[in-house]
């Protein structure tokens, strides 16, 4: 199976604090990779290292390599703006812009100049269909996005992210603010999206990792303790720490 992202000897610092220690991981193309671990273990930091969103925080430093299709995204000649178009992100809290549903999805294509030769309406429709939201909103595209319920808002954020045609989608606990039914909808959607995108999801919820992902990585105190196919990792963890965490003895 093809690697989409290869992380090699990656260290990450907030000032003097080392948040990630020697991370090595291969993220497979068109698969869902889940990152689990207790709060503060570095999994969200790692996720944000993949599209360099950490760069917006002053005083951070990265060492090692993150190869996206073989090219290190921390090379000086890499443009973060292009990188973030290729590696999109969905956040913990549904966070649509306080604008219409249409404008939310159209924002990315507009600023990236993608709508110039294509039809913006068509792009918005495709993205909303891709996020399994079209049927629910097609008659009210110009109403405020904040009038949607949280589950719909989160799918809108997914539609907004895929509108710029990324290759990888990073999801930072995308269901933590959603009820169980909305959560299942997002998980179904993730499986659907994995046909076309590589997905990396951070989750607190081990059942979610077990249900929805192909690969799982377990983080503990800034280290990647274990990484394996999800079924393997949950059935027969190799590390004692992993077993303790997934059986609920530590965490």
């Amino acid at each position: 199976m093809e690697n989409k992202i290869e992380v090699q000897n990656f260290n990450f610092f907030y000032g003097d604090f080392q948040a990630l220690i020697d991370i090595n991981i291969n993220i497979k193309k068109n698969q869902i990779t889940a990152l689990i671990g207790p709060s503060g273990c570095g999994k969200s930091t790692f996720l944000r290292a993949l599209n360099r969103m950490n760069d917006t925080i002053p005083g951070v430093r990265a060492e090692g390599q993150v190869l996206l299709d073989g090219k290190n995204i921390y090379d000086p000649d890499v443009d973060v703006v292009d990188l973030r178009q290729r590696v999109g992100m969905v956040f913990q809290r549904p966070n649509p812009f306080p604008q219409s549903i249409f404008d939310n999805v159209a924002f990315g294509p507009r600023v990236l100049g993608m709508a110039r030769n294509g039809n913006l309406e068509e792009m918005v429709r495709e993205s909303l269909e891709g996020a399994a939201l079209w049927d629910e909103v097609k008659h009210r595209l110009h109403e405020p996005a904040l009038e949607l319920n949280p589950g719909q808002q989160q799918r809108l954020c997914i539609a907004r992210a895929i509108a710029v045609k990324p290759e990888v989608i990073l999801m930072d606990e995308p269901c933590s603010a959603l009820d169980p039914i909305a959560t299942l909808k997002v998980e179904d959607l993730m499986r659907e999206l994995a046909r076309n995108y590589t997905i990396v999801i951070v989750t607190h919820n081990m059942q979610q990792a077990a249900r929805a992902s192909h690969w799982t990585g377990f983080f503990w105190l800034g280290r990647l303790v274990e990484f394996n196919a999800t079924e393997e990792l949950f059935r027969s963890p190799k590390e004692e720490l992993t077993e303790a965490y997934i059986t609920g003895r530590r965490g």
Partner: protein, 281 residues
């Protein structure tokens, strides 16, 4: 006395004293309205002064003040908004920005007559603009910079960080993020700052004293290099320099100036609440 009784007394005292704050402003307005309302007429607003300014209207001064207010807006707004964007979005916390901030705070504390003197030296004499609307607008513009910059910066900083993060995560550049996500949400606050700055500029006398204000010009200015009459200075002139001036004209002029400034503040309030309703988070 129990703690609860002390509490009641404290609240009673504080609220009474707070209520006293309203009294001076009500008295000022009442006093000026009662004394000035009789002078207000169509002619008062549309005719130039006559008979050594003892009769006629205030039209040239009213129009002059409106011109100066626009001139101030044009002079100050681009500079102030650019500075606010830079300080809020790009500058970070460096020694230079701390000095810039300190400068802005101190600019706000400079007495207005000092601005007037500076305007005379810099714009009227050194740049040779003469006593003119241009020189006056620039002087008033500099004077309003601090209030516009600080309110605009505050408005920009109050836009949730999340909008910026999301916008950047979609591949927008920093400038696109500012242009399309930050500024639209900060706009009500920025406009409020601008209008508050302008309402202060419209009422100032000292900065225009040496830079633009004319004692008496019956016609309207023809270019930005002309002098003009202006309401605050006109009020000063007819109150102190013209013997035998009917009192009602002075209060009428004060009333018009007051209404002009209050209506600017009102517009600012309306703009802000309108735009708040449209965009909410």
């Amino acid at each position: 006395m129990t703690r609860q009784q002390t509490q009641k007394i404290a609240v009673a005292v504080i609220s009474t004293v707070a209520g006293l704050v309203v009294i001076p402003i009500l008295l000022v307005i009442l006093f000026i309205v009662v004394n000035g309302i009789g002078a207000i007429s169509w002619e008062f607003l549309t005719a130039p002064p006559k008979n050594g300014m003892r009769e006629g209207g205030i039209m040239p001064a009213l129009v002059g003040t409106i011109f100066l207010t626009f001139g101030t807006a044009i002079a100050a707004m681009p500079l102030a908004i650019a500075a606010a964007i830079y300080l809020a979005e790009y500058a970070g916390d460096t020694r230079l920005t701390r000095w810039v901030r300190l400068a802005i705070v101190n600019l706000a504390g400079i007495p207005s007559i000092v601005y007037g003197l500076f305007g005379l030296g810099a714009f009227v004499l050194y740049f040779n603009f003469g006593t003119s609307i241009l020189a006056g607008s620039l002087t008033l513009g500099i004077m309003t910079l601090p209030v516009v910059i600080s309110t605009a910066e505050e408005a920009i900083l109050s836009v949730p960080r999340e909008f910026r993060v999301v916008s950047l995560s979609l591949g927008a550049t920093r400038w696109q993020t500012i242009r399309h996500q930050v500024l639209p949400h900060a706009l009500p606050g920025i406009i409020t700052g601008v209008i508050l700055g302008l309402s202060r500029a419209a009422g100032e006398t000292a900065p225009i004293l040496f830079t633009v204000a004319a004692f008496y010009v019956p016609h309207l200015p023809r270019s930005i290099f002309d002098q003009t009459m202006a309401l605050p200075y006109h009020l000063y002139v007819i109150s102190t320099q013209v013997p035998g001036m009917p009192l009602s004209n002075q209060y009428g002029t004060a009333l018009v100036l007051l209404l002009l400034v209050l209506s600017l503040t009102l517009v600012a309030t309306i703009v802000r609440s309108r735009m708040r309703q449209r965009r909410q988070w």
